[in-house]
């Protein structure tokens, strides 16, 4: 029988949680702005508000990182430790990129990439009306912030229940954003539907895993689970099943085989800014959560899950790199590439080299760096994808990219840089990322896995080159050629930052890598 509850007023570390709170407050404020501010002003205010909020949160995060000691905050719900700061910073940086891409109105006849009125039936007079009136959804910014908020919690969640709630917090806005593309709306809505159904399935399964883990450990906190495992109490089947089911949800969010099915469709259907943001931020958050859950909570089981993840990683890399070869739609191609990257990241996860061990580069640091490089390249690539257009919409078919090197060498060169970074060619950040991940995996005693991963990355390199070849070595077919529209400052800034970052991190990664390596100590 349950004993009656005795309540002690909970305590909150306001300063430590301030980044989260700032984002949340800004999101709520955004909703109010939607309700109160006249339509013409909304866009400016919302964009500014979102950008400001993210910047402030970033500042606070860094401030805390510098001065505050790592600790468990908010009654053990959120662990504000090195990795948390690390991934928060990453997420916020990516969030900033997302805001910038969302705010882009320079391309496409001065209209954003989002539907003028998502509630209207595609092709209906209502929709035409809305287009004519140049309506636009400025809700996208609050949605972005909400999802960012969820991701930040996800990355720092110290108990499994919070983990689940966070998943939903950041997924639901993304589902909606996915369905809001301005063009090819049927496709977009369909993508949203698929994303939603599969996503909620995954989170439901994960929730069941959480329940089982709770049943095993009698508590939600990762520390409890860890303690229970070390104590060896409880029934093992419960534990193992719980671990499996929990990993499903996380792997889904990462986009690992066999839970990758949503990726290509969603990437293709969602508006490019959303795709860019989703591809990067979701992966980052999910990887962060995965690391925390499995290193902190289920560290005792590592011999079980290392092998599991090794297999998953291999499958993921294999499928991602091979299927991508067949793609002709650049967004689809990037989708499969992101699957492949998920595989490479998992290789790092398998390594499971703790910062405690006498290795200067822990898995967490390596993976964080990998995510950073991947994020930069992805944002850059999607910024360019937004710029290459024809007939009003984006020209996502590779044919439209042929001869881009002729028409716009600078852009083509940038795209090449990003592609090379994806492929992990030296002198780009991607190379250092791969090296770091592989090194940590090998140090963790998984040399054979590294070997496989390398073979895969050779295959992967092939389809990135397909893009490069199309741009430089193939002549444009006038019928389908895409023209480059010069975007506003927003996208340019994203583009420049990504490019510079990719090159600089490729040449002198020392500083950042050091930062990451130092920060990679989990606490329970």
């Amino acid at each position: 029988m349950i004993n009656v509850l005795e309540i002690a007023a909970p305590t909150l570390e306001w300063m430590l949680l301030s980044p989260l709170l700032v984002i949340l407050a800004a999101a709520c404020l955004g909703v109010l702005v939607e309700a109160l501010v006249p339509r013409d002003l909304r866009y400016v205010i919302q964009a500014a508000l979102a950008a400001l909020a993210v910047v402030v949160a970033l500042g606070l995060t860094v401030l805390n990182w510098i001065q505050a000691a790592p600790q468990i905050a908010a009654m053990g719900v959120i662990a504000v430790d090195g990795p948390a700061y690390l991934f928060w910073t990453l997420l916020l940086v990516f969030g900033l990129g997302g805001v910038a891409l969302f705010a882009e109105r320079g391309v496409g006849a001065g209209q954003s990439a989002f539907a003028s009125s998502a509630a209207t039936v595609p092709g209906s007079p209502l929709e035409r009306e809305a287009d004519k009136l140049r309506r636009e959804h400025t809700e996208i910014f609050p949605l972005l912030l909400f999802s960012l908020f969820g991701m930040m919690i996800f990355a720092a969640a110290n108990d499994t229940l919070t983990l689940f709630v966070a998943v939903e917090i950041f997924s639901l806005p993304l589902y909606l954003l996915t369905g809001m593309a301005r063009r090819r709306r049927l496709l977009s809505q369909e993508a949203a539907l698929k994303y939603f159904l599969l996503g909620s399935l995954a989170s439901a399964i994960m929730l069941y895993g959480v329940a089982l883990l709770y049943g095993y450990a009698g508590g939600f906190q990762l520390a409890d689970i860890d303690a229970a495992i070390t104590a060896g109490a409880g029934s093992q089947p419960l534990l193992l099943l719980g671990m499996l089911l929990t990993s499903v949800g996380l792997l889904f969010k990462i986009g690992a085989v066999p839970f990758h099915a949503w990726t290509p469709d969603v990437y293709m259907g969602a508006p490019s800014p959303v795709t860019g943001f989703m591809a990067v931020a979701t992966k980052t958050a999910a990887v962060a959560a995965l690391l925390r859950v499995f290193y902190v909570g289920l560290g005792g089981l590592r011999w079980d899950w290392q092998l599991l993840f090794a297999v998953v990683a291999i499958l993921t890399m294999l499928l991602g790199s091979t299927v991508a070869l067949a793609q002709n739609d650049i967004k689809r191609l990037l989708a499969y590439s992101s699957i492949a990257h998920a595989g490479f990241i998992l290789v790092g996860v398998v390594g499971a080299v703790q910062a405690g061990d006498d290795v200067s580069l822990s898995s967490v640091g390596a993976i964080a760096f990998y995510l950073l490089t991947y994020g930069l390249a992805t944002f850059g690539a999607f910024a360019i994808i937004m710029m290459v257009r024809r007939a009003g919409g984006e020209a996502n078919n590779l044919d439209a990219w042929k001869g881009l090197g002729r028409r716009n060498p600078v852009l083509a060169a940038l795209m090449t840089v990003f592609m090379l970074s994806f492929a992990g060619i030296p002198l780009t950040a991607g190379f250092v990322g791969k090296l770091a991940v592989f090194a940590s995996a090998w140090a963790g005693g998984y040399g054979w896995l590294v070997l496989v991963a390398v073979v895969m990355s050779v295959i992967a390199a092939f389809f990135y080159l397909k893009v490069v070849v199309a741009m430089w070595f193939q002549d444009a077919d006038e019928a389908v050629v895409g023209t480059v529209e010069t975007p506003s400052l927003w996208t340019w800034s994203v583009l420049v930052v990504s490019a510079v970052g990719t090159v600089v991190l490729g040449l002198i990664p020392g500083g950042i890598l050091g930062l990451l390596a130092d920060a990679a100590q989990f606490i329970r």
Binding site: L5, E6, I7, A9, P10, C28, V31, L32, E34, A35, L36
Partner: protein
């Protein structure tokens, strides 16, 4: 005995009563076939075929349903808080105020976007 047992008893009793009386009427009532009678009623005009499952109805109702869910969930949170109000003390009150305000923001948004209007 478990306090739910009377409820079960009542349910059983009511069910028996309802079923019996309904079947009774089936027994007592006459049977006269008439095609028009067995047609679904539409004031005499030719009935518009209605797909099983109700077919389509205004989105308004969906919206109502969604709003209902949201606010119902809010109530779900209010109930336990209200019951434990005295034990929980000030902090909980503040929390609740924040919570209600947050919900109000959403409510306000819907209100302003005419989500609550029946044109």
């Amino acid at each position: 005995m478990n306090p739910y047992i009377p409820i079960v008893g009542m349910v059983a009793l009511a069910t028996i009563f309802v079923v019996i009386s309904m079947s009774l009427s089936l027994v007592l009532g006459p049977r006269r076939y008439n095609r028009a009678k067995y047609d679904s009623y539409e004031c005499g005009i030719q009935p518009t075929p209605q797909p099983v499952g109700g077919g389509r109805f205004p989105v308004k109702y969906y919206i109502t349903a969604m709003l209902f869910i949201i606010f119902d969930i809010e109530v779900v949170f209010l109930f336990p808080w209200a019951v434990a109000y005295r034990q929980l003390g000030t902090f909980a009150v503040i929390e609740m105020i924040v919570f209600i305000i947050t919900v109000f923001i959403a409510y306000f948004y819907v209100l302003r976007r005419k989500g609550l209007d029946w044109d």
